[in-house]
Symmetry: C2
Subunit: 367 residues, 2 copies
């Protein structure tokens, strides 16, 4: 293989594929990027066996071929280059990188050892605006579980009802649901659980030049295609919980509060609840039109903070994890939310006041 490429193209391709490379301790070749000619383009690929990425860039292909090279080192090296014209050449199993100022060899691993990334032959089921999908993932994936004990809870459940696409995650302590209106109904019913890590990598690699994303589904795989790249991921097997029955349909008390104001109270409460599993007592006072947060760190001290808010309904109390409040609010870009309480053992509901397409539920702690 011998090809000539532009620095800016190679940098972009590596920014997509290099960080998705896997852990060398599992299988050394997983830490490598596969570089191969594909007709008159160069294809860069990586995989950690759960998900993989492909990215194509324009190249002058002098002779076709393929090579693997350490992804992290190659990306760090290319990111520090200033010469615009780069020649890539294979010598034995190694990658030679030559520019006017640099002569470099990166030791490779035989191409045959690189695991194949599944090819998705299905045509796109749907197309989504990239900024909308990024925002939806950021709002939902944050609550996915990091625990592999119940795999479905570590994923984002994506399904449609007609032209409405839903993204949902829950770790059983909290839940976030976002809906998007598609330009048209998808081809076929969509109902997949995608690892939250895949969705978060997708957010990371989508820069502002990407306008739309195609999604295709095939048996156990799912594909996201964007511009010159694609991410392919396994689906998570299993049945997502019947979460809709958890969403409170009515509540005893609804508090209208500024997102920044509530985030500030939750952060302060969090300082005093670190030795107490983040536990903070929340009280809504209709008469005083105030929300009060109390927390106790028996070792270091205690805190009561309050804010003037709009309280509708009865006086209420509930105990929540302050970190869950902070994380929920961090995903909301509206100015105000409605925070609904329905007794000490029922889930609390957070909704932006100015949008109907998002909700976040937090389960109470026993108090």
């Amino acid at each position: 293989m011998k090809v000539n490429v532009k620095l800016s193209n190679l940098t972009k391709a590596l920014s997509v594929v290099s960080r998705m490379a896997g852990n060398a301790s599992a299988l050394p070749v997983l830490a490598n990027v596969l570089i191969s000619t594909d007709k008159n383009r160069l294809k860069l690929s990586s995989t950690n066996l759960e998900m993989g990425a492909n990215y194509w860039i324009g190249a002058k292909v002098v002779s076709p071929g393929a090579v693997t090279a350490p992804g992290r080192l190659l990306a760090d090296f290319i990111n520090n280059l200033q010469d615009e014209n780069i020649e890539l050449e294979v010598e034995k199993a190694n990658l030679k990188v030559t520019t006017p100022h640099h002569h470099t060899t990166l030791n490779g691993i035989e191409v045959e050892e690189f695991p194949s990334i599944p090819e998705i032959k299905a045509s796109a089921a749907l197309t989504i605006e990239a900024p909308e999908l990024k925002k939806a993932i950021n709002q939902v994936a944050v609550v996915a579980s990091h625990d592999d004990a119940r795999p479905v809870l570590s994923g984002v459940y994506i399904y449609n009802e007609g032209k409405t696409l839903y993204l949902v995650s829950t770790d059983s302590y909290r839940l976030a649901e976002k809906s998007l209106i598609l330009p048209g109904a998808p081809k076929g019913k969509i109902s997949v659980i995608v690892p939250a890590r895949t969705m978060q990598e997708l957010v990371r690699v989508l820069d502002e030049s990407v306008e739309t994303i195609e999604m295709a589904v095939e048996e156990s795989q799912v594909l996201f295609r964007f511009g010159d790249g694609e991410i392919i991921s396994r689906q998570i097997d299993g049945q997502f919980p019947n979460y809709r029955e958890l969403i409170p349909q009515k509540s005893n008390t609804t508090v209208e509060i500024g997102v920044d104001q509530f985030a500030n109270l939750a952060k302060i409460a969090g300082l005093f609840s670190q030795t107490n599993a983040g536990s903070v007592l929340i009280e809504a006072d209709n008469g005083a039109q105030k929300l009060k947060l109390s927390s106790v760190a028996s070792q270091v001290g205690q805190n009561v903070s309050e804010a003037e808010v709009k309280v509708d309904g009865a006086d209420s109390q509930v105990t929540l994890n302050s970190r869950y409040i902070s994380e929920a609010l961090s995903t909301i870009d509206s100015d105000k939310i409605n925070f609904s309480i329905t007794g000490k053992i029922n889930p609390c509901l957070i909704k932006p006041t100015d949008a109907k397409d998002f909700l976040h539920i937090i389960m109470p702690l026993r108090s």
Copy 2:
């Protein structure tokens, strides 16, 4: 004790003293800040036994007294407040903090357990412009040793010759010397070794409002006074190495090179020398007017990078640690340096082309 203070004053005082608080595992009270009334002001103090800080703020003192409270928690709490008026009160050994929206108690430790911070009675020996001193510390302290085996190498040696003040550090592999011209000669001869950590804390706490710093020396202590605060530190006992004999007086080869250009080469070389103790071979070629850096990471690959530069003198070779080059260049805000080589076993010298008040020496590695 009962006092009223302004949020902005308390925030500023805690930014100086809270991070200098020590490690609770050594002695619990070291993690606390001492808060005490001092006539009509409030004094905040902390110490880690090596250095201590005092900071005074205006206060309405209702009743005098003192209390200690966890420094980190108090600072995190105060930094998140938005109420401008704060009341501090002592209840038993605890600190009560009250604002219109917050009622908070921080558990204290008896004031008697707080170690005394040495008082420096000596008058100021010298006054320095704060931006100049900050820059000097940043240029020098980076090479101080983190190893306590030879304590003098973990310090910054500060001494004067007439109106010239020198700051010097060395870890025996490299050395940095900066000189400052004082407005007048200091009172008495200055010759102290101050822990580099103290100097770096001083840089951290000096915000842009501080214009000048007074330095006073007393037996085993040294004091830096700035605005409403002061840092007091022990001196390091011992004799600083006679470093001047290490500074090359003439060299075989001098390379004029851009700081960014050299930093870029060193960074790339560093990628390929991580498994080789950072070792990079540097070659200056007079005929080609080029500087060439070669490095080999036997596991992952190898790199040769070169740059067009101005080479005066003979062709030369030397092997250096790429990290030391990067760190030296990171302290220089000039555009260009002269990089001097005098054979394979003599120290290399780095000097900005536009300033005579700074030099940096790097010892070669055996190659």
